[in-house]
Amino acid sequence: MLELIRQLGATALARLQSLGAASIFLWQALVAVPQPKASFLLLIKQLYSVGVMSLPIILVSGLFIGLVLGLQGYNILVNYGSEQALGTMVALTLVRELGPVVTALLFAGRAGSALTAEIGLMKATEQLASMEMIGVDPLRRIIAPRFWAGFISMPLLAIIFSAIGVIGGMLVGVDWLGIYSGSFWANMQNSVEFYDDVVNGIVKSVVFGITVTWIALFQGYDCIPTSEGISVATTRTVVYGSLAVLGLDFILTAVMFGGF
């Protein structure tokens, strides 16, 4: 019994310590003042590998989620004779929830795991240590541009996801199932508010972007530098990242739409 309590305390302390380490790590990476020219190129490179490379999966899954929402929503709404509300349903679902959340989950799987594996491998092959040796701060050169790339890419990806999803819903609803396109768009525009819905969705995606990128970078930087350690860290990135996104989503939704 005493042993159990001791273990519980030790685990809690270890978690707290790693949270503290992660915060210090993020802080150091961010306050490192970048040299404008060199770090801009680094940022472009990371934007390419984090953002542009995630674009295909985001486009495809956004389109299909929109198509499925259109079909499912139509089948439910047609029971109540209110299939014109399909546009409202699809747009609100995507802009408020599915856009940011599904993008963040895909982002954790696609970009987050890649970041962790890359940095973990750099650590395992002692590239980070040798960088320090020649006087280059790895936090500034490796971590900071990747963090900013995630910070910038994630909201853009979520916006693209929502937009393509709405188009998918329109394809099913208007072009296939024959809802009148005027009422589809008009109902949507009446009920979707730019500041309350779209901007809140973007705020969510920014928070998720920070969280997922932070977890991915820290797991990579903190991993045990062996092949097994890298695999554990990559798994953790996806698991922790997804859980953090879903948990934060509940809190953010409660704050934004819960009516407090």
């Binding site: 542009v52 890419s153 937009a163 525009q189």
Partner: protein, 174 residues
Amino acid sequence: MRTRSLELAVGGFLIIGIAALFFLAIKVSGLSSELSQPSYKVYVHFQNIGGLTVRSKVTMSGVTIGRVADIELDKKRLNAKVTLEIYNDVNEISTDAVASILTAGLLGEKYIGIVPGADDIFIKNGDEIEQTQSALVLEDLIGKFLFNKATEDKSSNSNAAATPAPAANSQDDF
């Protein structure tokens, strides 16, 4: 050359993202139609708003002329105070106009319909439309209907009871 194609791809990514944002702003949330029209404020008091929400339409003869900006309880008069934003170019609403809460379709969204009055004095920013008609609440309607039905039944029963009675009386007279 390698950097150039990278930069092109990233630039394209940013452009797509911004285009998607514009799409969400204008096509999905209809931002332009809300912002483009300058409007003035008019207050209306209703006994019961029955499901009217902020951003509902304000119409005259079915044409949208504004929207509901705010709904709150007037604590002094103990009724609902609704703030309407009416487009500036609709500036000839008489002070004796009637504002009523209507329903689109049988169970659709609530909106405000304004029937113009005949007065020569027009409402200005910050004025109040005095004559209102509250929302029809389905339960009230059913309640009234049942009440009327019950009183009808009762009165027809009492009539039926009343007509034989004089007859009985007249029979007694004989």
